[in-house]
Subunit: 453 residues, 2 copies
């Protein structure tokens, strides 16, 4: 721990209440990308908070909500990039909240608010970290860039176009990326990659309206049709049967695999959290489960709807059947290409009547684990905690890292202090005040480490 | 046409308005078996109408709504049985009705009311036919039995127990059975059998709640599980793969098949009515389609539900998947046995985790086409219309004929005057006043014919 970092951390402790109040203030402002509610007001509030740390943020237009962008000068040439978002999830089901989701009520040292753990906390920790460095030391240890988007919760539809239009602005040594978790007594987790995603809608429509089920003897049933199409795509063993699906996969490296042992993933804990009797195939081996979670693509049915949805019985021949599927992709897989393979598979198997619609797509991304930024995260955090970090080479989930990071091979890491049980996207989203303060410190420690490379 | 029948038909024409008013009165009284609304009042109203034709009806208790039963003496020993129901379908969606479903509003000679075509019309035609015979001729040509149940629209759950407990009461030469259609300028259709039915619910539950879809890489997906179970039960060609499913089928006789040629079924008309591009396998041959409709069992998905049902995308691993299936059965197939075969199939294919729940079951039924009652229907109607009837050896649908008719081999026939487009079970259910009056006459003609055998 350097002396100047210690000064910064002390400053943070001394201004704890002020930082918490700033976070609560931001959380009291709704910012729903879906409806647009509060977006302009939130932008103004974030700009005001950035101005307070001594820089005028730019508002960069996109086809949707603008990106709030700022650059701050520091001592070293290294650039610490921050990707966060100022929009939040909707509040439904509102009746399950114990306090107004935009009241930012603090109970027993925990702030309850929509967005407090996803991701207004992250956004504010970057601003507070800069503030603490400047106030405590008069300067920043490295350059800092803020890229705060406003549409993450609706799938970042304009982020790639933004990144492609502004390669200079997004350039940096690495991104501290929204998300990341640390349990109270657990190791600090650092996630250096994400799976990709392809969302598709499949639909079979055979008639304008449902009919009496006696006609099932002679008229086509769209649910059966879709079931046979789906069964042709994936077998009972879980193998995906779409020709070429696995062809472009870049398998994990020996280095990637070497991190599985130390991964804090706890099979029994996750099994209990999910409430499933067993994992697929009764698997219990941690490394095998992690391999599937990080390195194997999925073809998952998110929803299936056809015919009568009510209670009890109704004898009906449905007119329509539809399914929503998400494919989680691994490096090497291109969402657009996978979509083409699904279409080709359906056609080849005679399912030309099955409509296939493309939803959002995101390639997977893995950070270069040898990059200075990656090392700065690991070493900075290990010095701060005096304990090895738990490095995850990938998340099982998806985030648009690829859009920012792939072309220039910029590493991105997720690390934070909120809990896996913070109820993000759910009622009573919350964050402990202590965790928020810890997260500001984590940012400061990584900035300090990066400045020394 | 006998002289006395002509007198009866003339009487009906002379008292047309009175009969229509009695039907409207009954239709103004709600009688919803599902909720119980208006059931006691409807029973009293029907009893009052039966008392007016000179007999005190019995109310025979069941485990549900009681059966209204009455016997009327006639000249010949033949017994004309009438099976109808006094309950009606729910009115939802109520906002699509152009007039109050219980107002029985008459517009352009058409009565609009819930139950007016299913089956308060049928029930009233039996009462009016007896009334007309008695008033016009002072006596009935044959004995008449009314068996009016009150739970048909919820699947007649207590009808078989009633029939088994009262074999003497249900004995007769044959039943005129609720249902039956005749288009305005079409031939009189007579349907002498029904397909059976087995309704089942299949369910897979893997977790107490939905999870983030990244876990699809390691945790089971109930929708996929159910899809593979279903795909094992029926192939793309529509062949049902459940071991033993087809074993007990009694194939149609040469006589059964001989009626297909004259069946008024119009493939192109039905295809347009259903709104499908083509029948299964592109079949256009009338006899082949009718063979499937009457003589082939089905395994039809009525509804499939799993995971996210809303608009747009949600990346979720569902916790549950469920499907509702109706099997339409043909003679020889026992619903309970078929249920056991489905369970055995699932177990044999490793789907022991798929829950299977039995819903309602009804065996198929076919009337003896050589029985006096069958001949009375055919000959009576041909004499009335001076045109051959269109005899259908089976409906593609199901009705609980088996419960009443199987043990004593009593024939049952459906014939009526309402249209296939009468919106039964739908908003704006309706019946032309002319059709109702015609239906009273049809009953009288068949009673007259039966009395002569």
């Amino acid at each position: 721990m350097t002396e100047r970092l210690q000064k910064v951390l002390d400053y943070i402790d001394a201004h704890r209440e002020e930082y918490i109040e700033e976070l609560c203030r931001l959380c009291r402002q709704p910012s729903l990308a879906g409806t647009g509610e509060g977006i302009p007001e939130t932008i103004e509030l974030v700009r005001e908070q950035i101005r307070k740390i001594g820089v005028e943020p730019e508002l960069i237009p996109t086809d949707g909500n603008p990106v709030i962008y700022a650059e701050l000068e520091g001592e070293s040439d290294r650039v610490y990039g921050c990707y966060d978002h100022y929009d939040v999830q909707p509040v439904d089901p509102i009746d399950q909240w114990e306090s107004d989701p935009f009241a930012a009520e603090i109970r027993d040292g925990v702030i309850y608010a929509r967005g407090v753990a996803d991701n207004k906390d992250g956004l504010m920790t970057r601003i507070c970290a800069v503030d603490a460095w400047k106030k405590a030391c008069g300067t920043l240890p490295c350059h800092v860039k803020f890229v705060f988007e406003g549409e993450e919760e609706i799938g970042s539809p304009n982020l790639r176009a933004f990144a492609d239009a502004h390669p200079d602005l997004i350039q940096c040594d690495g991104y501290v990326w929204e998300g990341g978790e640390k349990e109270k007594d657990g190791p600090c987790e650092v996630t250096m990659g994400v799976k990709g995603l392809l969302y598709v809608y499949m639909k079979v429509k055979t008639a304008p309206r449902d009919a009496h089920s006696m006609y099932a003897a002679i008229a086509p049933n769209p649910a059966w049709r879709l079931i046979h199409a789906l069964a042709s795509m994936k077998n009972e063993k879980g193998e995906i049967l779409i020709d070429g699906f696995y062809d472009d996969i870049i398998p994990p490296s020996e280095t990637d695999l070497s991190y599985l042992d130390a991964d804090p993933f706890n099979p029994e804990g996750i099994r209990e959290y999910l409430g499933v009797g067993a994992f697929i195939g009764g698997e219990t081996d941690k490394k095998k489960l992690l391999y599937d979670l990080y390195f194997r693509p999925t073809c998952n049915i998110c929803g299936f709807t056809s015919g009568f949805q009510g209670d009890g019985s109704k004898t009906v021949l449905p007119s329509e059947a539809s399914v929503k599927i998400d494919f989680r992709l691994v490096p090497g897989m291109d969402p657009d290409h996978i979509f083409d393979l699904v279409r080709a598979h359906l056609d080849r198997h005679g399912f030309t009547d099955v409509e296939l619609i493309k939803g959002s797509g995101e390639p997977a991304f893995r950070s270069n684990l040898e990059a200075p930024f990656t090392k700065a995260i690991i070493n900075g955090l290990e010095k701060l905690y005096n304990h090895p970090v738990a490095l995850k080479v990938s998340s099982g989930g998806t985030s648009p890292m690829h859009a920012f990071c792939h072309k220039a091979d910029i590493p991105a890491g997720m690390f934070g202090a909120s809990s896996a049980t913070a109820n993000i996207h759910a009622p009573n989203e919350h964050l402990a005040c202590d965790a928020f303060i810890e997260m500001i410190k984590i940012n400061c420690a990584v900035m300090e480490e990066l400045s020394q490379y």
